[in-house]
Amino acid sequence: MSSRSLPWAVVLPAIPVLLAVAIALLAPWIAPHSPTAGNLAARLKPPAWQDGAIPGRLLGTDLLGRDALSRLMWGARISLLIALAATLIGATVGSVVGLVAGFHRGAVDAVLTKVIDVQLAFPFVLLAIAVVAVAGPSVPVLVIVLAIGAWVGHARIVRGLVLSLRERDYVQAARALGARAPRIIGRHLVPEVLSTIVVLATFDVGRIIILESTLSFLGLGVQPPTPSWGSDLRDAAVYVRQAWWTAAFPGLAIMAVVLAVNLLGDGLRDWLDPRTVRGRRES
């Protein structure tokens, strides 16, 4: 795998993804203005190329006179942070559970399969609503809820892979030689399923960015005044008639990042060739 050079289908979408990550990391230094300091004298000013724009506010201002571009950059920070954290937790928990259940079979596996069945028989947004209704909206709650949404996919697919891998000759040979479960899983199974996990996790990042922005849009996620693409759109939806730009740019940002992440996932899948990941899973 390492001898092959990176194909364009991976490199091209990786560029905008890395750009978004760079903006998120550097937001405190590159954002032209404070994301939270408003100026009521400069409310709802349009982007620079429209009549009535004010200098230095490239993408205009929002209802409280805050700089739209700066909020967009800081919004990338929170959206990507949440998506990456939730994906990491979900992918790790799901993969470990899938590996253990698939390898050991038995009661653990039977219980796991039922749990997966039940969670997949349940629109995820509803679970999020139920949890947030009681726990209250906050970033840690959001990360945990989104990770709960992500782990099932990993557990299901990794388990399926391990079920067939464990019957392979080299695994049986390792077993016959007296290798214990942790060693077999760590040395022989993990390397085999890693590419699948990477591809799945990439698609998860895209899915979770959309879910996070959706929950924040509903008022169940990131709370104002913290800049986030979803919660900014919640405000923007109210006065979209007067200021289209407040609604257009955060949405375009979500779309661009998710599109790039999904294409990166497609590219990685074709390159690493895990046949088990068919198409993009849906939210």
Partner: protein
Amino acid sequence: MFGFAARKILHTLFVALGVVTLVFAALRLSGDPAATMLPGDASVDELRDLRRALGLDQPLWAQYLGFLRGAVTGDFGTSFRHQQPALPLVLERLPATLELAGAALLLAVAVALPLGVLAAIYRGRALDVLAMGFAVVGQATPYFWMGIMLILIVSVELGWLPTSGRGGLERLILPAITLGTHFAASLARLTRTSMLEVLGQQFVTTARAKGLSEWSVILGHALKNAAVPVVTLIGLQFGTLLGGAVVTETIFAWPGVGRLAVQSIFVRDYPVVQAGVFVLALTFVFINLVVDLLYGVLDPRIRRE
């Protein structure tokens, strides 16, 4: 067939029990509902009284049994805001949600199936590139942003369609497009992949060799065999549409279960949230059962599983 149906129904009952348990866990383990429901300045006595009234002072297993009993008898408590039992309030709004999800499903299937089939036939040509471009962008667009943009462009700028409420076809179009686009995108992609796979198989070559016209090969032989994964996705996705309906209803002020549940969170009308989540989840489970049973009818091989 009877044994197959019985197995599926039993499985569904089990899943339904699991879903009720999951709802219970999400609602009870993630915090104290009584503390969430009362205003910030409530006294300790008020909190204790409410906890007692909700049965939260009982041990967890007793609460769970009570919750199960409530779920079976349809008793989720009384809405604080509406002063009526929560379940009828929710059920009243279920037809609106099903109407929206159904319209979105029909719209998506009507657009995505032909698009996916054509993209497969004209693989690599302009139409394929265009259709798949649409699909990839559609998959990256959040429901709610799509809705806001449709309202901005179609309702506000062009003045073609009303922005909110329910009643008449003209109020259904924008929410249905909003909810259906994401699904149409994934369905078009899957239809294309599935068709391409089938078109490369021997029975298609045979059908062509027999001298059948290209269209009868595609419609008569290929499409029928490509349909199984496509029908699977349609079934599975109906539930996702119910979840997406929550968002779409909120944007378009569509009087459905999802909007009611979300609004109830903000006014701390806990019994209604509980009943809303429960009803949508069970609707989903029930629809999956119907889809499963339909498979058994469509594809006899599945019954032997």
